[in-house]
Amino acid sequence: MKKASSIEPKNLTAQLHYRGEGNPPSSHPSTAVSNCYPGLEMDFRNVWKHIFEGIVLLEYSNLVTGVEPGADEKIQRLVSSGIQYELISADGIPMTAPVTGPFRHSPEKIHDTISLEWSNALAEILPKAGQFVLCKFQNNNNLREILSIDLKVRHFFDVDLNRNGKVVSQRVVIARELAGPGDLTQSLCSPWQNDYRECDCFYWAASRPDFVNVEPGKDGKSKGNNWMQKDRTESGDKKYISDAEDGIAGNPVLISYQDLFAAWEENLRFIIAGKDEPLKKSVKKVKVLKKKKSK
């Protein structure tokens, strides 16, 4: 793109707010229809999974879900023989907080712990990138067993280091070693599971258009289909089914869970220039491929 090459962000705020190289404007957290839980374009929680060298973590419960190849023996213990370990503190910063208070429908009071959100809890660790910090892990089956291991903190942003490991320059881009291919999107909602159908206002699927095959009507209003309508053909009823007026749950004109599990690709299809991609085309392509194969 000509424009991108003639405007080059220099300082940190400029880098943060200018379009990412190679990415569309909708990929910016500020412009995307995103949140972080789980997010629509990407699941931001995933950038923390590899923040400590040697282990892979799961934010929801601070659970160690894996160790990296070549990790030393002490680290290997974290995933050994069916025992589950949770990260409870890093560099003295707790990863959980105690919760006490009334319990619904019960005279009992609740005394428990809740996992903290990592973008806050781990923020103070970031200046220690490149250094070792003391991490404490608790055995899920035996809460008294605490393993203390020094782990190296990875750089969160893409950096250049000199021979001594000192940062000499930094870009406002998430470091590659924190997010391998597919990492950032792997926990997004999936059409072949319940996710798309589950959300009444289609928020989880908001990066997809939900008002499709739209045409201007003679009365000056627009007419089109709800993206989940079963019949989205020319001859079908072009009426947007709204959550408020028509009700989504159990509405027979909409694609059901079962329909999605069985054939989500055929039922949903790509939307190109605002319209459903014609099914025939894709079917034809499949047939051509099959013919070639049979030769």
Binding site: I7, T13, A14, L16, N162
Partner: protein, 434 residues
């Protein structure tokens, strides 16, 4: 240099660049774009400028809106621990240390009450600052030391971090002070307005005798002890001490951790205030110091010119603010008698009165201050590209004299922006602390 357009500022440094004030964003731009923007400036068509910025993803992000800060936590206080001074500097905002009233010391119980207010109003902040100013704070050494110990003990008991700083004229410093400051990790700033006679002319003892030699003799043990504490020099620039480069070189040679300059823009009787001609000279000399800083940085040598290093780091981060400083927001001054002021300069001044230690912060007055002092309400700041880097200028100086130094501020910022691009290219590691 005039504020040609509030939407952007163009500058040249190894190619053409643009500063977008909103978010203090800096971009390198091609010659064609630069030419197009020059044309837009010529036409001065606000709608067309906005459209161009939007089309090129450089639009305003609304980083700073018209809303004033409300009910800010109190994270810093300064104590006018001694409202008296042994020097007789003609330009002193505190009128030779006494703020126009009877000289007095702050009683220890008032100082402790001020620290209690800080702990009560910090709203959970983990870092706090206590600054000792005056007058000459070491004229009330006993209370200064006692309240420091009290604040330190309280911070440790509550697992909070507290930083201490002192601005002193250096004449009363002793070796024991050095040990005390080291123990509590003070940032020490010594006011020095030049070398030898130049300093003596501006900062004499009340009897008229020069103070430079005494100060340097007193400061030497502190300079030797710098590790836990930092000892910096602050130079107030008047038409009588415009020889910045010589002053900077000598103070660095003496071993100060950093040296910074600040123009005298408003003094009680108008004595030694900078006029437009002396501000022009100051700008030239500041740039000469900046160029020396650049030369040393590239050669890997230390040259602690704090105006330059602070401005460069703020520009790199894209610092943008609706106020020039925290005065009246997260920072308040406390007078010897326990009145709260917008900052150390507004002690005993009704224009910046914010309540007292007994009744607490006057939130109504504070809110009125924060509304009125917002840079969007200031003229000519609203139409200036430098408004979010400058914040509108020192409240005390602006309220008392107006804004005589806008061209100087813009000229300095324009130079630092150019230097930023050069340093980013040659020494990018400068922007990443060890």
């Amino acid at each position: 240099m005039k504020p040609v357009n509030p939407s952007f500022h163009l500058f040249e440094s190894k190619g053409q660049h643009i500063l977008i004030p909103d978010g203090s964003r800096i971009y390198k731009i091609s010659k064609n774009i630069h030419q197009k923007l020059e044309e837009l400036l010529e036409k001065d068509d606000v709608i067309e400028i906005d459209r161009w910025l939007i089309e090129n993803d450089l639009q305003s992000l609304g980083k700073i809106n018209d809303q004033p800060v409300s009910d800010p936590p109190l994270t810093s206080i300064s104590l006018a621990i001694a409202q008296k001074c042994n020097l007789g500097c003609s330009y002193c905002y505190a009128q030779e240390g006494e703020f126009g009233v009877k000289p007095k010391n702050m009683p220890l119980e008032k100082a402790i009450a001020a620290v209690d207010l800080l702990f009560a109003q910090n709203m959970g902040a983990h870092k706090m600052n206590i600054a000792f100013l005056g007058g000459e704070p070491l004229a009330n050494r006993e209370a200064l030391q006692a309240v420091t110990r009290y604040a330190k003990e309280r911070s440790e008991a509550e697992s909070k971090r507290i930083n201490f700083s002192i601005t002193t004229n250096g004449t009363l410093l002793t070796e024991d002070d050095a040990d005390f400051f080291k123990k509590y990790g003070f940032s020490v700033t010594v006011s020095l307005d030049g070398v030898g006679e130049i300093h003596d002319r501006l900062r004499p003892f009340k009897g008229g005798k020069g103070s430079y030699e005494r100060i340097i003799r007193n400061v030497e043990p502190l300079l030797a002890l710098q590790k836990n504490m930092q000892v910096s020099a602050r130079v107030t620039v008047t038409p009588l001490n415009l020889c910045l480069k010589e002053t900077l070189d000598e103070l660095i040679r003496l071993g100060f951790h950093s040296v910074g300059f600040s123009p005298m823009l408003s003094s009680p009787g108008g004595n030694n205030e900078m006029d437009s001609v002396s501000l022009e000279t100051m700008l030239e000399n500041m740039i000469a110091c900046g160029q020396e800083f650049e030369k040393n940085l590239v050669a890997g040598k230390r040259y602690p010119f704090s105006n330059m290093s602070t401005a460069l780091k703020e520009i790199h981060r894209g610092t943008h603010r609706p106020y020039p400083c925290g005065a009246g927001a997260g920072y308040l001054g406390v007078s010897a008698s326990g009145e709260l002021a917008a900052c150390h300069r507004f002690v005993e001044d009704k224009k910046g009165y914010f309540g007292n230690l007994e009744e607490g912060i006057d939130r109504e007055r504070q809110q009125a201050w924060l509304t009125e002092r917002h840079v969007h309400r200031q003229e000519p700041c609203k139409s200036c590209w430098a408004r979010y880097l400058c914040g509108g200028g020192c409240h005390h100086e602006v309220i008392n004299r107006g804004r005589p130094a806008c061209d100087y501020i813009r000229g300095w910022l324009n130079y630092v922006l150019q230097a930023y691009i050069r340093i980013l290219d040659q020494r990018p590691d400068f922007f990443y602390p060890a």
